[in-house]
């Protein structure tokens, strides 16, 4: 033991031999600290961690340099899942005794397992998150989070305590009891856990019993065995045959049945409806396409008709133009023949002209030429026709006289001799026609009388 004032080695005297300080009280404090340490050690040995922590805190309060007490306190904190407090105690301990200190080994063991340290740190963060969930009223999330935490760090007492509290809030007493039991398995005199257990007993209507630490898989009654596995409390009735496999098979069969029913009543109709809908859509689409193509076809047909009509009109127009041009040419030729005093030639050319298509000026020219040429031509045709008749050349006489009458239908002589030419040539039918014309057009004339007689004679 060293003097608290000068650090000199103390003898059995109550005063320091070097500085003369009164060390009697100091000696008592050292003894008190050691006594607390011994008490803490005894409690820690029987897993009374809460009691041990109290005693060891008193020990280091009496003598802060009691490194054994501080190291043990750190160890107790570590066992309770309080890693930060444990490390703090070990670091302080190492500060007071840098050599031959157990804290060194503890710190190194933690530092040599960074993965484990990281996992513990994560559980601390999640625990804080769970508390936040509780404050926000998200108790379900808090429970889920705490279960994860405790699966990683099962020694975190406050995690078990908070989870038990949440289970108690939900009136899930079995699970709450299991969590509290887990606390007591680590710390047998944990005050909070014992208080919660007492509340549980009262809530369940049981008589308060002094809770004894239980081993896992302990039989609690004659009818059932209750044991904990991790965070779960399992109650297994005695004498009941374990036929879970049968239940599993039944459940699977029921599941398959439900699945088939869902497929039959929901999925298949929906699929059929979807296919039908797709088919209808396709039909509607095709109908639209057909209608569009029909409309396009009609439009093209109408366009084609229009073009055809235009083409025909153009052809007709071209034909008329050609005809008109031809008529012009013939008119010019006729005029030229007329100028050369070739009346029959001029007349022949005039006959080839379609007067209707000629413009008004051309028609005036046509009429003028025709007037001059026509009279001479009629006379000439009559003369040649009559001469042919007299020489019994009926073919020529019929042609010339017919043309003569055609040019001038007042030429009754030409008509009469035309009828005679037919008669003499043996064409009785035409002879009858032209005799009748003579009778009709030249009534009261000699020719009419002769025609009447001749017609009667050939009719008989």
């Amino acid at each position: 033991m060293n003097c608290y004032n000068c650090g000199a080695e103390l003898s059995n005297s109550d005063y320091c031999e070097r500085c003369g300080a009164d060390v009697s009280l100091y000696r008592r404090l050292i003894k008190l600290s050691n006594a607390y340490y011994n008490e803490g050690l005894e409690k820690a040995r029987v897993r009374d961690l809460s009691g041990a922590a109290v005693a060891l805190r008193q020990s280091v309060k009496a003598n802060k340099k009691n490194t054994d007490a501080r190291n043990l306190l750190g160890l107790v904190y570590f066992e309770m899942g309080e890693m930060v407090d444990a490390l703090s105690q070990w670091i302080i301990s190492k500060n007071f005794q840098s050599e031959k200190n157990l804290a060194d080994e503890y710190i190194k063991s933690v530092q040599n397992s960074p993965a484990r340290l990281d996992a513990i740190n994560t559980t601390i963060k999640k625990y804080n998150q769970s508390l936040l969930y509780c404050e926000q009223g998200s108790f379900d999330l808090a429970v889920i989070q705490l279960k994860k935490i405790l699966s990683t760090n099962p020694n975190l007492l406050k995690g078990h305590q908070l989870l038990a509290l949440l289970y108690m809030k939900e009136d899930n007493f079995v699970r709450a009891r299991a969590e509290l039991q887990a606390v007591l398995n680590i710390d047998r005199t944990n005050t909070l856990a014992l208080r919660y257990l007492k509340e549980l007993d009262e809530a369940e209507g049981k008589q308060s019993k002094k809770q004894q630490p239980k081993r896992e898989e302990e039989q609690v009654s004659k009818d059932a065995i209750v044991y904990t596995s991790g965070n779960e409390t399992i109650i297994q009735p005695i004498g009941v045959k374990d036929n879970s496999w049968l239940h599993s098979i039944i459940n699977i069969i029921i599941g398959i049945g439900i699945g088939m029913a869902v497929m039959w009543f929901l999925i298949l109709p929906a699929q059929k409806q979807m296919e039908s809908s797709e088919l209808n859509d396709a039909v509607a689409e095709y109908s639209d396409q057909v209608e569009a193509k029909t409309a396009a076809l009609n439009s093209l047909q109408a366009e084609m008709d229009t073009l055809k009509a235009e083409s025909e009109a153009a052809i007709q127009s071209a034909s008329e133009a050609n005809e008109k041009l031809s008529s012009y040419e013939e008119l010019l030729k006729a005029y030229r023949s007329y100028a050369e005093e070739d009346s029959p030639g001029a007349l022949e050319k005039l006959e080839a002209i379609n007067k209707e298509i000629l413009p008004e000026d051309a028609q005036i020219l046509y009429d003028a030429v025709f007037r001059e040429v026509g009279a001479a031509a009629v006379t000439e045709l009559y003369q040649t026709g009559y001469a042919a008749y007299q020489s019994n050349n009926f073919e020529t006489s019929i042609a010339d006289l017919g043309k003569c009458y055609e040019l001038d239908n007042t030429q009754h002589n030409a008509l009469y001799f035309l009828a005679r030419s037919y008669h003499k040539s043996g064409d009785i039918e035409n002879a009858k026609i032209y005799y009748q014309k003579v009778i009709d057009e030249a009534p009261g004339t000699r020719m009419s009388t002769d025609a009447t007689n001749l017609l009667r004679s050939i009719s008989n």
């Binding site: 608290y4 004032n5 300080a21 009164d22 009280l25 100091y26 404090l29 280091v60 309060k61 009496a62 003598n63 802060k64 309080e82 890693m83 930060v84 407090d85 490390l87 703090s88 670091i91 302080i92 340290l117 513990i120 740190n121 601390i124 963060k125 625990y127 804080n128 508390l131 509780c134 404050e135 406050k158 305590q161 908070l162 509290l165 108690m168 809030k169 909070l192 919660y196 509340e199 009262e202 809530a203």
Partner: protein, 47 residues
Amino acid sequence: MLDFEEELKRFHPSLEISQVEDNVYNHNLSDVTDLMDEMLKEIKEHQ
């Protein structure tokens, strides 16, 4: 029966590993010997 809200107030967020250093610095390390030493010094000063 327990008052859940009141019980919940007993639970506080834990320090993370990164806060060990701060925890050590903020730790009150004075013990009874320190108190006694201070008291003896004060007594001497008064005498």
